[in-house]
Amino acid sequence: MQKKISLFTVINTVFLASLALLCLLPIIHIVAISFSDQAAVSANQIGLIPKGFTLASYKMVAKRGAFWTAFGISVKRVIFGVLINTVITVLMAYPLSKSEKEFPARKLYVWILIFVMIFDGGLVPNYLLVNKLGLFDTIWALVLPTAVPIYNIILTMNFMKQLPSTIEEAAMVDGAGYFARFIHLIVPLSKPVIATITLFSFVGHWNSWFDGKIYNNQTSNYPLQTYLQNIISSSDMTNAAEAMENALSNVKTLQAAQLALTLLPILLIYPFLQKYFVKGITVGAVKG
């Protein structure tokens, strides 16, 4: 009786396995296209396995300066962006996790943040500001306007709130000030949530394209996703030479290779951080 595997377990396992597969199929499909022969791709013969295996598209991408320039800008953006996001988030979450009794001004600060989570000046005023500050075509245009990730702050704040208050109280008795307690106690204890927001901020910076499109006057300053969005959406052809150009750059395999390469960093960093974020996200989001 104990060894009997019930029908339910079988169906359940199969169902969940197919569900997981469903999440992977599109990625596998794209990767398969990127390694396939172009003729097979035009004829729509690619499912999940490359046909006429070739590295040709990757070789073409490798020679494509614009792709790597954009890649480099995205890397730079992620480094600066994540660093700034994380530091600001942790710095702000700590005071906000204090009770109103201990920190009466908390309410004012929270409202300052909540208000702009919803109200936004709109495209043109944001554009004017970034322009007037002279940030155009610099990495700062991509990093500074998103420097304060309010959602992440709330997440981190909620996480810190549920840390047992006795720990801090003990340190307080020993005479440790806010800074000392913050650095030596709170930050180490908040590792799961910090890993989580780091991942979120990494993904956010790596994935965003709209600001790259608006805040850059030179295509050579586009981050990777903006560069890709440009390729995927542009098919306007007004003259013969342009048409031939596009025919070359719109080749499906080439596009697939660039998509796959763009996904790669996410796939690489994800397994490392994911062991933390289950804890970080659930405690932060769920527990008030």
Binding site: V124, N217, T219, A240, L248
Partner: protein, 542 residues
Amino acid sequence: MKNKVYAVLLSLTLAFGIIGCGKQDGADAAVTVEGPKSEEDKMKKYEEPITLTFAKAEVVTNYPAGSDAQNNALYQMWEDVMGIKVENSILSASDAMTEKLQLAIASDEIPDFAVVDAMTLDSLIKNDMVTDMTDIYEAWATDNLKAVVGQQNNALFAPTISDGRYMAIPVANTLGDSYPILWVRSDWLENLGLSAPTTMDEVFEIAEKFTTEDPDGNGEQDTYGLYLDKDLNGLDAIMAAYEVYSKDEYWVKQDDGSYIAGCTNPEAKIPLEKLANLYEIGGIDHEFAVKDAAKEEELIAAGKIGIYIGYFYSPLMVMKDSVVNVGADWTAVPMPAAEGYGTYKPGVNLNVYGYIYAKKGISNPEAIVVMLNHLCDGFAVPDMDDGNNEFYDKFNELASDPEISAAGPNNLMPFQMQGNINWGEKFTEAIENGETYVDGKNADYQNVISTELSEEMSWAWKKVYLEGYKVMDMDNVRYSDYTGAPTDTMSKTMSLLNTQKLTDYISIIMGDQPVDYFDTFVETYNSIGGTKICEEIKAAME
């Protein structure tokens, strides 16, 4: 606490000043421009090189090694020949350029000059951002330039006029680029024993046969008679056969002096019904409404489509793939009128790349005309090489570099210009005379006569110049009866109107709605701005 809050509000108000302020009035002192000292001066080289900022629409992806949109041989050439250093302060994909420029206008930071569309030009003029070019053009333009950009009684200038003054100069393009050509699979015609159509009615009959009679002989009904894509490319050319001018922003003057939008002409029901019938029997790709041109053209490449309304250069773009894939052959047919209608006249837009403006307050606005003078002599007049044209000679020299040639030398320049030269006849003549060089389009001519190109490329180049060009009748075209600057309502609603037209036309063609739904469309179109625009046009023309 209250005080603190007010303090915060006050500092915010101050900070808001960063984005809130515009330019003070009179910030730009009026610049006086001297006339040219001599005829040669019009084609001068600035001794002390001047730098002008520019908005460059990027189309090249394969720059020659070590070059980019800013640093390349052609930009260098402009500097060497004219003493004008063009600096791309905005570099953007061409389909994002309007957005970029609109944002630049919003922040009052436009480049010194750029080639813009009528809508953007209108924003610029309304915001008082451009120099009045009337006198500068009059004084500095060469006769050649005046002949090209002033073609058809300065018709091309219409959108640049504000209070009777020219606020920009049209950058002429060839009419050929927008003149529709009916490309038909000649191998299919042959297979089915058909001859080329001479009326639009025959075009539909052939399209039907191409669908149902298995023209590729593979025993399956897997072919489409007619090409159509989600932007309805080609539709306007069909409509013109019924004297309906359905292009975006195309206005037709009625006998009573009022105007209507061309696309609301009820005659349009005839071709729409024919298209709906063709769609129903499978003569048009059932998915055309979600495929952009690039996507839909895959069907042409795969040899599945028999009739394509394109342009003289279409063989180079898409049709050549069908030659490789299925051994297709195409023939260029002059667009025919429908039975009972007069000579076919395509509705065309003003043949311009755009309108070149000089930012208000720049110190050398005449440099814009000087650039145009050089370009015009190099590219737009029939007999370009009078032996004394440095710009043109250098261009040809650079264009012979294989890497530059591959990237497209015209695209590497800041902007280009063309005239209405019928190269088809010139090339045919040259081949008959066994010439090895054709002035002005020599690079293309070399491709036409080359024996080293791949079979399909050689086929394509020949189709372009020896067939496509020759079925064009550039004297018989029809401009919109209103080509002036966009009216208020036009600026506000034009893209909504265009979308309305597109979605309703598509619904009718796909049979989602009956043909009589057209009346509902006209009603909607007029109520959301159509009527108002026509009234504004009438007022503007009086």
